[in-house]
Subunit: 407 residues, 2 copies
């Protein structure tokens, strides 16, 4: 298994295109299209928010069904959320426009939107964008990169990656793009990620693989604790690698899950590190916990603590905030047993042990905390389970980005 | 029932004092003492954080016991949290020093600390402060005000109030002080509130009254979602009003609960509005919900949303964030049924109804949102229950206060 260049066009049989459709303010790409001529099995995980954007409702139905999928169309600028019946109609029209031009069924087109909520789609722009993109579909690396760029909002850089591995003697690939937290006209921190693979795998096992992997990757990141109306992670698999179709949880399945995990973990880290206004990726490892679930809960509690995040921004080894966030997570533990340390590329510092603060050099601590990735490690000393969560610091820029007027 | 001047010395038989003990940096009061010669029944609610400061452990034992209480000693500057065995010893010594000088049992002294965590108390300063305060104990209004000031950290103003009411023909009073969220050397947002009353009431019913009232008052505020190691709310009742002792849930009990509720609600609003860096009090009312518990959960979810709080700071009627926060609260509802509006002293604006955004004047919305208190109202249209939560906006200053170095 190795990481290779590229993104959603890395796997065999996948093409992409992107364009300036004019949904967003001028001079920024705002639409993208991914297409596979071979029919794909599809799996998705979506926001658990009760308030779901129209595309989320649309995609869930397709991913839960047995229809083959051929395309994913996405836009930035407008989220098509809180838009009622009219919004659902415009979502279907978007899929319909793609279907018409590509000669595929309407229900083989997944749709994703991110942007201002409570605003209806500009269908003239959307249809114009689709008409522009279809003739430009290409399997080049640049086409994949363009798609990753078109879906960005306040992301400071586009996010894509690809992995190559072997199943049944055949070379297989997974490619991915993602966009993270924040908007130019900020309304919602939306996470979108689309993954393409040429692996031949049954719908059921694709869904199972995704659900397995997401728990310790995408579900372990937080930028600000606000779960959007649009969050969607979708994988489509076209089987073009011609491996023996994966229909049971054998070694081939395990290989696929490992590759998917590697992609999801790295994409999750990229998203967390590029959270709105972030200056650092903040990683929290909880080790030697009594259960896996408790380890996850503890790690996420620290990642979500505003006080801890502000402390990372301030490069301050104020470990009490980490202990405090562990303490209100809902997990019971004995504070006197915890060992707490902070590390980065510059070194490691033990902060708390045997119920008491440990002496450390403040200057060195500031240096350790001033790196691009800062890792807090909580050793619970109560078992053998561990979990990792990823977040970012809380900065002036987060407030600035999100306090600005929409217009 | 009417609001009167003063704070913890308003009720009969309560004296207070405060001083600069030198725990904090120079020239700020940092210790306070409340004393009743008559023995008091006591009730407390404390942080549910697993990591509890030494004074919290000390006070819980006293409030759960049958010992009469005579005094509350409090300090700002050091929180005595994450300080292990040594911290627990110093807490007991603090109570012991007060007990010695006042000639009362050690276990009749409640202790509260707020400040830097992971640092041991400076006992020389603490004992010096106690020795200064005991001879200065006074039932004057100024003495109560001084106590409210001495317990402040990053609070921008001190918080106290008092209510007067009648039980069994006797004039009764409750007085209160509180300190809110934030520290000069910021380590933890600690909420402390002490209340004194001359009502005669059994320990059991005092505890019950406090637990009843706190659910819809102190438990409905949030500044940043971080629950501290030190949060404590304590009421002591000395019976000096000479009313017939309240030992059952009769009309007298109801009168007392009403007065306690009025105090707790107003103190909660004061704390929320003076959250770290806050420029506005943000009130969220959920009405016509299916259950009271769901109404509370929905209101609190909005109050805690960083995106919504930043929107209030930006004076932006970006209602999608409110809908989104309701949506991820864990409560199930039909988004198409919700009616969402925002109001303040300048007027009211309907933002969302029948599943769709409603047209409104952006300029007027900015005016409505620029007031000292902004109220969001979510009408769920599913029942008859309601709840209110209080918070504040998320500002540059919150980040600044909490990113600064401890030293």
């Amino acid at each position: 298994m190795k990481r290779i260049q590229g993104g959603v066009t890395a796997a065999k049989g996948f093409k992409a295109a992107s364009c300036e459709a004019g949904i967003k303010y001028i001079n920024r790409k705002d639409m993208m299209l991914i297409y596979s001529e071979s029919p794909c099995t599809a799996a998705g995980v979506f926001t658990s928010n009760v308030v779901k954007a129209a595309p989320v409702v649309w995609d869930k139905e397709i991913c839960n069904g047995i229809h083959p999928v051929h395309a994913i169309v996405g836009n930035s600028g407008i989220a098509n959320a809180c838009t009622g019946e009219q919004g659902r109609k415009l979502c279907a029209e978007t899929a319909g426009a793609v279907a018409l031009l590509l000669g595929i069924p309407e229900d083989s087109v997944l749709v994703a939107s991110t942007g201002v909520i409570g605003m209806q789609m500009n269908m003239e722009a959307v249809k114009g964008g689709i008409a522009k993109m279809v003739p430009e579909l290409s399997d080049s690396e640049d086409a994949g990169t363009g798609a990753a760029e078109a879906i960005m909002t306040t992301d400071t850089h586009s996010k894509q990656m690809a992995m190559e591995f072997e199943i049944g003697g055949k070379t297989c690939r997974i490619g991915a793009l993602a966009k993270g937290s924040g908007m130019i006209h900020p309304n919602m921190c939306t996470m979108l990620s689309f993954m393409t693979t040429d692996v031949a795998i049954s719908n059921e096992l694709l869904q199972k693989a995704l659900r397995t992997v997401v728990v310790d990757t995408f579900n372990m990141i937080s930028v600000d604790g606000d779960m959007s109306t649009n969050d969607s992670l979708m994988v489509i698999a076209n089987g073009d690698a011609a491996n023996p179709v994966i229909t049971e949880e054998n070694d081939d399945y395990k290989t696929f899950v490992d590759a998917l995990y590697a992609i999801c973990e790295e994409m999750a880290r990229m998203l967390a590190g590029d959270g709105e206004g972030a200056t650092a990726l903040f990683t929290v490892k909880v080790v030697n916990a009594d259960t896996k679930e408790n380890a996850r809960t503890l790690a996420k509690s620290v990642i979500c603590s505003s006080l801890t995040k502000a402390m990372i921004y301030g490069h301050d080894a104020n470990f009490g905030r980490i202990l405090c966030a562990l303490g209100y997570s809902g997990v019971l533990f004995d504070p006197d047993k915890i060992e707490l340390s902070i590390e980065s590329s510059k070194g490691s510092i033990l902060l708390f042990k045997n119920g008491e603060p440990q002496p450390f050099d403040e200057e060195f601590a500031t240096e350790v905390l001033s790196q691009k990735e800062v890792i807090a490690i909580a050793d619970m000393h109560t078992g053998n389970d561990e979990a990792t969560a990823w977040g970012c610091d809380l900065t002036y820029d987060y407030v600035k980005i999100n306090a600005d007027y929409r217009s």
